[in-house]
């Protein structure tokens, strides 16, 4: 799963690469004292091109690149792009589906917390204060109505005093 791979990679020494590449593959450890290549949305032109060692065909293509670009075919332009960059912006921004794991984890732990709270209700909470007994609450309501609390729009306004019942 995506998260476990990230978790493991964080402990490895290539953590900088992993953090900057996002979902990129972990290749061999590069020398971090020289300019590095990375795919990042906020660094559109990395410090060095992607391909270091070019084959002879690539080298001749690079020579051709120095001339007018109308002479390059579409495939050649794409090949030159892939020489300089590993992933296009579209590929970099590809959605990972990580959110599903996150949301699933959230729901799971909320559910677990619910179970913990339920256990607390039965094994931890002390007994009710007497003011929460039904009898006490009924007497309380009667007193509130007798005092005419909020008679215009609120509590007592909803009680019908002639009939002795809620409206």
């Amino acid at each position: 799963m995506l998260l476990s791979r990230r978790g493991l990679a964080a402990f490895s020494s290539s953590s900088v690469k992993m953090a900057s590449h996002g979902h990129g593959d972990v290749t061999e450890q590069g020398d971090m004292s020289v300019p590095m290549y990375w795919d990042r949305l906020d660094t559109p032109l990395p410090d060095k091109p992607y391909q270091d060692t070019l084959s002879d065909a690539d080298k001749s293509l690079k020579q051709k690149e120095k001339g007018p670009w109308n002479h390059l075919s579409k495939e050649e332009k794409l090949a030159l792009y892939r020489m300089t960059f590993k992933e296009s912006f579209a590929e970099m921004k590809k959605p990972t589906g990580e959110w599903k794991t996150v949301v699933g984890g959230i729901f799971f732990f909320i559910g677990f917390t619910g179970l913990v709270v339920l256990w607390q209700r039965y094994y931890v909470y002390p007994p009710h204060p007497r003011t929460l007994d039904d009898e006490w609450k009924a007497k309380q309501v009667k007193r509130m109505l007798d005092m005419r609390m909020n008679p215009v729009e609120g509590f007592s306004a909803k009680w019908d005093y002639e009939k002795g019942q809620w409206k």
Binding site: D146, M147, R148, P151, V152, E153, Y161
Partner: protein, 76 residues
């Protein structure tokens, strides 16, 4: 491939030109809705309540219910 030069200036002004009238109108609507949905009915409720309000009658009802300490129900 020559793309059109993007707009470099006046971006905030353009956004405000669009959003400010809407914001203004929505605020007015919200205020009007609150006035006619909440405050006018509330004023009417209070007016209606006090139109037929007999203070002595209410006081005696409360007295009989026994909630006062300064004046006990008439029976005692």
């Amino acid at each position: 491939m020559s793309l059109a030069k993007p707009a470099m200036r006046g971006l905030l002004a353009k956004r405000l030109r669009f959003h400010l009238p809407i914001a203004f109108a929505l605020s007015l609507v919200a205020a009007a809705a609150f006035k006619y949905g909440v405050t006018e009915p509330r004023k009417k409720a209070y007016a209606d309540f006090y139109k037929e309000y007999d203070a002595m009658k209410e006081f005696n009802a409360m007295r009989e219910a026994g909630i006062f300490e300064s004046v006990r129900p008439s029976g005692e």
